[in-house]
């Protein structure tokens, strides 16, 4: 029998991740790409990379997640299209069945997920503000001309505490400039920023939540050792970073897909050749009513395969799922 693999795709605002799990739920392939505002191209690129690397393999199921999950799901014919909370929780439970708290900080959003006895019992996502997420760190790193990869390690060299305001990205930046002008050392400021971000995160998302060990820290920002350290000190408990912390969403999607396929006994995955299809979008401004919905039609090889963006269902109901 041919080996079976399960594909998970997480299309986020900043990065798009692909993972491949084998039937023992082990990760056999991973790819981390920058979305760069072009989710269709990047999904195709990801599939192409996968095909080049793994050759002809039997993908028995596929799942999509992330803010671009709907688009990715339609493109690849995913068996499941799941929200980020559920996929992150599923992946974390697979990595550590005793997990109680998941801290997740991604490119433009952050979430906290509480679990009790292996079941999600509560969660929160950042609301109107993206301060303290990966994009903000990216930007500050660029401003200080420090490669983002070294940002966290630099923070660990800090000897003196410097307090940076973390409530708002704009104020934080002003504060940092001010501290620089006063002559504070860069590593102290960088660690101050890490602390500010953690404080902001815990105030916003952790408010009123009972954070218990084991704590798993995942998402792209978990790479930053300065933030890990700030979390460890602020919470007073060990923070575990799973080996594949940056692709947990995709892993969760693949796990859920595996389960769905087992139940359905079939997959709707279109195959890796999707990377060679011509995908496009056709924007339509519906003039049917005063809502003027901005409809997007997804086109594959010249034929519409999905439509969304309408409030009344006039367009989205025209094309049935995975036509």
């Amino acid at each position: 029998m041919k080996k079976e693999f399960y594909l998970g795709i997480d299309v986020g605002s900043v990065s798009t991740n692909l993972v491949l799990l084998n039937s023992q739920r082990e990760l056999v392939y991973r790819d981390y790409l920058r979305t760069m505002g072009q989710p269709i191209r990047v999904v195709q690129q990801g599939l192409k990379n996968l095909k080049d690397k793994m050759g002809k393999i039997n993908i028995a199921g596929a799942g999509a997640t992330g803010s671009g999950r709907k688009l990715a799901g339609i493109m690849i014919g995913a068996d499941v299209v799941k929200n980020e909370i559920t996929t992150h929780a599923v992946a974390a439970l697979d990595a550590n069945p005793a997990v109680s708290t998941i801290l997740e900080i991604g490119g433009q959003d952050s979430k906290i997920i509480m679990l009790r006895d292996g079941i999600v019992s509560d969660f929160a996502m950042n609301t109107v503000c993206a301060a303290g997420t990966g994009s903000f760190l990216d930007r500050q790193a660029a401003r200080l001309q420090i490669p983002i990869e070294e940002f966290g390690d630099l923070a660990l060299n800090s000897k003196t505490e410097v307090r940076v305001a973390g409530r708002c990205a704009v104020f934080a930046e002003t504060d940092m400039i001010h501290k620089q002008q006063l002559g504070h050392r860069v590593e102290d400021i960088v660690y101050g920023l890490c602390q500010a971000l953690v404080r902001n995160y815990l105030n916003n998302l952790g408010k009123g939540k009972d954070i218990k060990p084991s704590v798993l820290f995942q998402g792209g920002v978990a790479a930053n050792r300065g933030i890990r350290e700030a979390f460890r000190r602020e919470l007073g408990m060990e923070i575990e970073v799973p080996p594949h912390y940056d692709v947990m969403g995709a892993i969760g999607a693949a796990l859920i897909a595996k389960d769905a396929v087992r139940r359905e006994r079939r997959t709707s995955f279109r195959g890796l050749d999707v990377s060679e299809c011509q995908f496009g979008v056709r924007p339509i401004e519906c003039k049917g009513c005063a809502n003027m919905c901005e409809i997007i039609e997804i086109v594959k090889d010249g034929a519409g395969i999905a439509c969304w963006g309408d409030r009344c269902g006039k367009w989205s109901s025209r094309i049935s799922k995975y036509a």
Partner: protein, 321 residues
Amino acid sequence: MKPRVGIPRALLYYNYFPMWEAFFKELGAEVVLSDLTNKKILDDGVNCSVDDACLPIKVFHGHIINLKDRVDYLFVPRLISVERNEYICPKFCGLPDMVLNSVRELPTVIDCTINLRNSYSSLRKAVLDVGRLFTSDYRRIYMAYRKAAQNLKFFEELMENGATPLEAMRGCHSAKGEYRYPIGLIGHPYNIYDNYVSMRIIDKLRDRGINVITQDMICSTELDRIARGFSKPMFWSFGKRIMAASRYLIDERQARGIIYLVAFGCGLDALVGDLVERRIRKRGIPFCLLTIDEHTGEAGIDTRLEAFVDMLEWGGAKECL
């Protein structure tokens, strides 16, 4: 020709429209409604109203613009209190002033004052004052008011049987489907029932087989009974209903979770939201606070709703892993 009275489909439309409609109709007026909230109404409202108003107030302004050129009168009552010793949000008290200040070229605005905090006498005065615009026959005004009150009662009964206001206004009972379990949806009526503002939250939940129960689907006497048990009286009528409903939903209706839809910038929601959340969390019931404002994308709300429902159902479907 019949005088045309315009009623904006916003704010307390969802609480009182059947009453207002009957009253004006009985007085021989034609009732004209604004369109259902749409993008243009929202944009117009945001552009013309003061910056720091909350989303529902902005939406209300949009409805005024939508209506103003089609009617002889605009009905914008000044509501201060709708129940004894209670208030509603102060923005309702200044609503006619805000509208007059922000929107130009308005038809006559009917801005009768309703303040039932101390006594019902202001209601009587309001009814007579408004009635006299259309007829000098006091008996007719009285009969119109009676009809209006009857309609309101009938409307509220339909809602207490599980209909949303829009369903009840069509005179139909709730869309009784095969629901798997109940959850509570609480918040200001003008946020949860306006399909544009709430992004069809009720339909989305019902489509997933969930029985959505709102505070208006619970008998008012029950809510009052619970409210009397509060450690301190809640002096906001809506806040009281929301808080009492959250308890009733958990204790009497076995709601598996509670969703509170709040408008960004609402002072009342900020306070009541926290009180409700603490109480619900103590009981170990899943709670989800959804914030909406004019920039809210549907994707954000959908993700949270989806995750919340997944969470509620996860316990029952452990084979998920």
